[in-house]
């Protein structure tokens, strides 16, 4: 299988729990990259800390496993120095939008050509099930034993408002759509955000009586709908999937090149 060429087999079986959605995100990402037909040397995967962030250790591209919440800052540095590379930044929901929230909105605002993947299991998996800014009202977590009273961010709306030029959402159930969206996101020139609803059966699942990994994927199947579907009109609570934003906008590295050119005018 060709995707086996893209992993570091020596680290398998991987550390993720049975049925963890992060493994499905890995699976889909490998297939998206396989379809792009790029050489492994053209791809950099940069992550922070979290169960999700372990993904960078498993893929056989250029990889950086950095610090919690700061993957986008490292990625910005790599992209600015070597803009010809395709930089992919998989993050957990806590990683991307709690501690890393400011990096996230400002990377989006600059429209730097990175592919941010938010592996959203609505919980801090790695540290034992604390609530995250994507858990939402009514959710149970180690740090919300009675019930979480914080409302969740909507990743898609947040990314859109912050200026991301490609914004999409899919789930670990909808793997064909997910692969297609990841491929589009990598090809898009500018800041791309792909939110993936992913299951953490171990913490989110247990705490919230959401059942097994299979049950949680059934939930993604039954509680999401394509953007603008008739079902959404009849059932406004359904979560929409698909590409929400895809627009052409000048990209940060190319704007920066223009500044360098201006500054160097008249000098040799």
């Amino acid at each position: 299988m060709a995707i086996k060429d893209f992993i570091r087999e020596r680290f398998f079986p991987h550390i993720w729990c049975p049925g963890c959605g992060h493994g499905i995100v890995l699976n889909s990402l490998l297939r998206a990259i396989e379809k792009l037909g790029m050489s492994k040397n053209e791809i950099v995967v940069i992550s922070g800390i979290g169960c999700s962030s372990r993904i960078s250790g498993y893929v056989d591209f250029h990889t950086l496993h950095t610090i919690h919440g700061r993957a986008l800052a490292f990625a910005t540095g790599v992209k600015m120095s070597l803009p010809e590379l395709n930089v992919i930044v998989p993050m957990g929901d806590g990683d991307a939008l709690a501690i890393g929230g400011n990096h996230f909105i400002h990377a989006a605002r600059r429209n730097i050509d990175l592919t941010a993947i938010v592996m959203n299991n609505r919980i801090y998996g790695m540290t034992g099930g604390q609530y995250s800014p994507l858990s939402g009202y009514g959710i149970l977590a180690t740090t919300a034993p009675y019930m979480n009273i914080d409302y969740a961010f909507d990743t898609v709306e947040l990314a859109t408002a912050a200026g991301a030029s490609f914004v999409a959402r899919s789930t670990t159930y909808h793997v064909q759509q997910l692969t297609k969206i990841l491929r589009q996101a990598i090809l898009h020139e500018g800041f791309s955000v792909v939110e993936v609803l992913s299951q953490c059966p171990t913490y989110f699942g247990r705490k919230n009586r959401a059942g097994s990994a299979v049950d949680m994927m059934e939930y993604f199947k039954n509680h999401t709908t394509p953007i603008g579907s008739k079902a959404k009109k009849d059932h406004p609570d359904l979560i929409e999937r698909g590409v929400f934003v895809e627009k052409e906008m000048s990209e940060y590295c190319s704007e920066y090149d223009k500044i360098i050119e201006k500054a160097m005018k008249g000098r040799t």
Binding site: W16, G19, T172, A213, V214
Partner: protein, 70 residues
């Protein structure tokens, strides 16, 4: 395009964690977990080679080999 013909369900028993995702979502109910919680093709001839098991496996532990693949 000719219908893909199944060669084998290639299962990596070392990597399979028995999560049951492939079993549950197989449209033809081909797969089962054995008593050590590893997947196997119990009704091999019902397989339509849709590869959904392969695409959804979180552990990259199941692969559908068809004659078209080579």
């Amino acid at each position: 395009m000719a219908k893909p013909k199944l060669k084998a369900h290639v299962i990596n028993r070392e990597w399979c964690k028995g999560c049951g995702i492939c079993v549950h979502f197989c449209p033809k109910n081909v797969l089962e977990l054995d008593d050590t919680d590893k997947v196997f093709a119990a009704r091999r001839s019902d397989c339509i080679c849709c590869k959904m098991c392969e695409l959804r496996c979180p552990d990259l532990a199941i692969e559908i080999e068809t004659e078209q693949d080579d």
